[in-house]
Amino acid sequence: MKNRMLIVLLVVLLAVTPLLGACQQSALKPEQPEKAETPEKPAEPEKPQKEKVELTMGSWRADDVAQMNNLIAAYKAVAPDVNITFQPTNPPDYNATLRLQLDSDTGPDLMYARSYATGQELFNAGFFADCTDIPGLMDNFTASNLAPWQMPDGKMFAVPFAAVSHAVYYNKDIFAAQGLSVPATWDEFIEVCQTLKDNGITPLANGVADEWDILECFFLGMLPNYVGGADQRVLYEKGDKKLNDENFVNAYTDIAEVAPFLPDGFEAVTYNDSQVLFNTQAAAMFMDGSWTLGVYADADFDWGVFAIPARSAADTAVTFHPDMAITMNTKTAHPEEAKAFLAWLCTKEGATTASENLPVGFFPMINFEIQLEDVHANEFLALNLGKQTDARFVWPALMDLYSPMNQAVIGVLKGTMTPQQAADSVAALLP
């Protein structure tokens, strides 16, 4: 009997071990061959004079390999002995992967840095280098463009690289066929939606299945229209204004108004579905980020963008969000070379080259005048003119409200919450 129990116990242990093992196994992930091959070692001892330096760059922009390789090739003209290898990760997995790489000392030499809290945490953990003294960094960017990658004490942990914007993509062909023009106010926007729907066209391609896009692209994209720019946002962060005030209730009310104009079964429409719906002209408009500009480059219809309009009494504002910055690993074997690359990004020459090779829909943040080539990208950037701009509302200081606000927005769209309840549910989480 005793023996039998022992065997039973052993079997059970064997059966359940994989669960606990999972925690550790994943820690081994970065040591998969592709990541572990930082092929710098062999050349070093033989040629001490003209050594080739190999650097790796981590990123969440898996779509941008071609563009980044162009940028890296351009940098070769500046530093012929430095070879940078771009190693992007699937976007949703970037934070987790980078974290595991850094924890196990297999992190890249250079890497994209997330803004605000996520980046600050990695700086505090000692993974991101202090970039404050990189030449040109403090001079060539405005304070608001530095802020997302700045510690409370003013230290910089990355070099700002690119920002993204948010707007409504619209199908000009459908608009022309229906005799519609770009709406200037929210009411006109709803009228446009109604006309399209009456004529059997799905007005908006957005869905809520993936959750993040309805909040980041749609709700946070339109929020500055209701709460105002950065100066107003700060009041909410300090608690001077409440997250269930009239402005917020209005914003939830308006987004709830959009529900009937989303595709049938929008509850199960994913971000990819939305893109396909817009791209196949099954939907006339899509509230999305500038980063997908390139997706519609080959569309066989004429399209444009407009800023999501404010209520008639308010000014239309734009969510122009600081998105990418590049930093270096404190544990890199080649700190000088990595630093030189970052410094190059802070020069006019470097920033121009970088902007030329930025993927369409990402906008430079440096102070120099930089001309973009893509028509649609310029159209997107022109939406900022004469308007207030701000980062996405929750990013700078209220990141803990991201998930609750996401659920609140989905709640009002599905009709399970009233706008007031939605606003209250988020406001209740702040002291």
């Binding site: 669960l19 970037y94 996520t118 299945a209 079964g265």
Partner: protein, 313 residues
């Protein structure tokens, strides 16, 4: 010195004439070493990790506070119990659909009068060989009204084009059913193997005594399948409480919509490995606490199931 060396030789030496010797230890060492390094050590390391907080570099010992937080802190406990409930439902659907159908299919497939058994057997087993991400993605498209509506309307079934994966009330059920669809081949094959092992003589004796097919099933097949049912229950239980991939493929790591498909696996991933989007700062200690609790629960329940379904030797 010499005598002690001799003594060791006597015990461990490759003396095939001495069956009581411990020479078999040498055969076990490679596997044992592998097990210790890759299974036992990480497991114990996770147990240890559950008493810490913070990430690499600034990890702090906090005793049982992760566990206390998991049960008392309203944010954590709500998510944990919700994930636990969802996982239990996920498991219940697998037991009811996957394993019951598994027995039914196995009985049909071992029926010698049925034609085309091999074909059915292959059809039932094929989904098992697909990658979960592939099945998850395909079913996600099939179940999306955006893509299935024209097709279903054409068949006069337009009413079925609902956002099944987008409604809190149906999402978990559909995710569970897709998982059942994929894995049903495993229990079916195991039951088929077990049924084939039952001696024909017993059936013959039963039929001579006038037993009906139904009586044979309840009186002979099911009791003799009991140990296999126990094993399959444990396998289903362990796999379901560790499930993550199917939700990852069909919904997202938050268990959309509205946490209704959030399993312990996805909760563990968010807490311990990826961190909550978009901040993405994981708390490995908290993740380890979740996995430790699940480990204890799996161990206890598995022993209970084994003891109940074991045939007395």
């Amino acid at each position: 010195m010499q005598s002690s060396a001799k003594k060791t030789r006597l015990h461990l030496g490759a003396n095939s004439l001495n069956p009581k010797g411990l020479y078999w230890i040498w055969f076990m060492i490679p596997a044992l070493a592998f097990y210790v390094v890759f299974m036992a050590y990480p497991m114990l390391e996770s147990l240890r990790l559950s008493f810490f907080t913070g990430n690499y570099g600034n990890r702090v010992f906090v005793g049982f506070s992760n566990f206390i937080k998991l049960f008392s802190d309203s944010d954590h406990s709500e998510r944990f119990f919700n994930a636990f409930k969802n996982t239990a439902i996920f498991f219940a659907v697998h037991m009811l659909v996957q394993n019951v159908l598994g027995i039914v299919f196995a009985v049909l497939l071992t029926n010698t009068h049925m034609r085309g058994r091999k074909i059915y057997q292959t059809i039932i087993f094929v989904p098992t060989t697909f990658a979960v991400l592939v099945t998850g993605y395909l079913w996600k498209l099939l179940l999306s009204p955006v893509w299935s509506k024209p097709f279903l309307t054409g068949m006069g079934l337009g009413a079925l084009a609902k956002p099944w994966l987008g409604m809190e009330s149906t999402a978990l059920l559909f995710v569970s059913l897709v998982s059942c669809w994929q894995w049903i081949g495993i229990p079916t094959m195991m039951f088929v193997a077990a049924l084939r092992n039952i001696s024909e003589d017993i059936y013959e004796a039963a039929y001579i005594d006038g037993a009906t097919g139904w009586q044979v099933f309840w009186g002979i097949k099911l009791p003799l399948l009991k140990p296999i049912i126990g094993m399959i229950t444990i396998l289903t239980f362990v796999n379901n409480f560790n499930a993550f991939d199917i939700v990852f493929a069909m919904e997202n790591v938050n268990g959309a919509p509205g946490y209704s498909t959030d399993l312990i696996g996805t909760l563990f991933y968010r807490l311990g490995i990826a961190g909550q989007h978009p901040i993405g700062i994981p708390d490995p200690g908290m993740g380890a606490a979740v996995s430790t609790l699940i480990f204890i629960m799996l161990a206890i329940v598995s022993i209970l199931i084994l003891r109940r379904t074991e045939t007395k030797g």
